[in-house]
């Protein structure tokens, strides 16, 4: 079995942002040379997520509204204080909790050298704590 790991970087431009990365994942699968197996997309962070949904602005807005309703910006969170080990303030509890809901990865089949996605599916890097420089991994495993 072959394993190919791709490290990807991006910069979010909003506090909440759904960034479509479907083409990056397709290209990584093609570049990997792996014909049959699986592809895993994994975020490196704790205030982001990897999600799959339909790439429509109205759906994206509903996702944002739902997450904001569940995890509002203003709430007496515990994670709001100076972190001596960082030297910066913890002001991003909503991002951590939205990340928990979204999950840190998604898995897809690879068949005949191609990523298998449903016709309505897009892959998103979900930013919940922007603006920040971010990193995620695409790992392709198979034969």
């Amino acid at each position: 079995m072959d394993v190919k790991l791709f490290e990807k970087h991006l910069e979010s431009s909003k506090e909440f942002e759904l960034i479509v990365i479907s083409d990056e994942v397709r290209n990584a699968v093609a570049e990997s040379g792996i014909k049959n197996g699986i592809c895993i997309v994994i975020t490196q962070h704790t205030t982001t997520g990897i999600i799959v949904n339909e790439g429509l602005p109205c759906v994206e807005k509903d996702i944002e509204i739902m997450l904001e309703r569940l995890v509002p910006q203003d709430y007496p969170y515990v994670h709001t204080h100076m972190l001596p080990s960082y030297g910066t303030c913890a002001g991003n509890s909503p991002g951590h909790l939205k990340s928990l809901i979204a999950g840190n990865h998604c898995i897809f089949p690879v068949i005949d050298g191609k990523l298998v996605l449903g016709h309505a599916q897009d892959i998103y890097f979900a930013e919940f704590d922007g603006l920040l420089r971010r990193r995620y991994y695409i790992e392709v495993m198979g034969e």
């Binding site: 910069e11 431009s13 909003k14 506090e15 203003d74 007496p76 969170y77 709001t80 204080h81 100076m82 080990s85 960082y86 030297g87 910066t88 303030c89 002001g91 603006l131 420089r133």
Partner: protein, 287 residues
């Protein structure tokens, strides 16, 4: 115009060309897990928050460390890399014999717009003649002074050198110098507001979020510990927005101020107009 009065440029890529420099700054400043920040990204953060100009603070404690935390030449480098966006304040370590010459060089050759001092880090009393000599230069050159006041997150910074009331004689002896007390002098905010009201040349910045979210913190400080009308009616012309970047992102610290039930004229004054007056026309319009 919105002006952020308080940014430490310790993480910017344009002054951290080696890993050793970045490591030194992270240890000295106490941002241990932070990463290098591209200047382009710092400007994006400013734009996102609606900040037009940011004051960047030079810091020199090289009497007991390998190099200035951020040298005056490095402050100039940041200003030149983003013309019109940053207003540079010089650092000078009063414990070094050449501090007066270095400060004059920063003003006359590098074009920096004021002096920044953290006496907790240098463990000097404000009445020390070496500190007074730097104030005298600021008086002669008509440059303002940003004085660290209150709690400092920086390592090795005993707070007793930064109690606002200790600076009172300087405000009297240098009436032509505008002084900014950082962090509202917290936890000595009562001393700070007394000094704001008593001395026309004294200002303070809001880089003061030490606990809770900015919204909760500013509500507690300005409308519970104080009455909100104290700020609105007694020293609205003396308080200046400061983010304390990189410890707090500008957009978040500013939200805390915007969430206060302030009159628009007061919010406009805090976010920029007071800083324009404190800094002077040359700094605000300069490059």
């Amino acid at each position: 115009m919105i002006i952020d009065m308080h940014m430490h440029p310790v993480l910017l890529d344009v002054i951290n060309d080696t890993d050793e420099k970045l490591f030194f700054r992270k240890q000295q400043f106490g941002v241990f897990k932070s990463s290098k920040m591209p200047l382009r990204f710092a400007l994006t953060l400013m734009d996102d928050a609606g900040v037009d100009k940011t004051v960047i603070l030079g810091e020199d404690y090289s009497a007991d460390s390998a190099m200035p935390l951020v040298s005056n030449d490095e402050i100039r480098t940041v200003m030149d890399a983003a013309p019109g966006r940053y207003i540079g304040f010089a650092g000078a370590d009063p414990r070094k014999e050449d501090a007066p010459q270095e400060l004059k060089r920063a003003f006359e050759e590098l074009g920096l717009f004021g002096l920044h001092l953290n006496l907790s880090r240098t463990r000097l009393n404000v009445e020390d003649e070496r500190v007074q000599a730097l104030f005298q230069i600021c008086s002669e050159c008509e440059k303002p002074v940003i004085l660290h006041a209150g709690y400092s997150w920086k390592p090795d910074t005993p707070s007793r050198y930064a109690e606002p009331i200790l600076f009172e004689d300087a405000f009297i002896n240098f009436p032509g110098v505008r002084f900014c007390l950082t962090h509202m002098g917290w936890p000595w905010w009562e001393e700070t507001i007394m000094l704001l009201m008593k001395y026309p040349n004294v200002y303070a910045d809001t880089a003061t979020v030490y606990m809770d979210s900015p919204t909760k913190w500013f509500k507690q400080l300005f409308s519970v510990s104080m009455d909100i009308d104290w700020l609105q009616n007694s020293f609205a012309d003396k308080v200046m927005y400061g983010s304390n970047m990189p410890r707090w992102r500008q957009v978040r610290s500013m939200k805390g101020l915007k969430d206060l039930p302030l009159r628009k004229d007061v919010l406009d004054a805090v976010l920029g107009q007071n800083a324009e007056r404190f800094l002077g026309k040359e700094a605000v319009s300069g490059r």
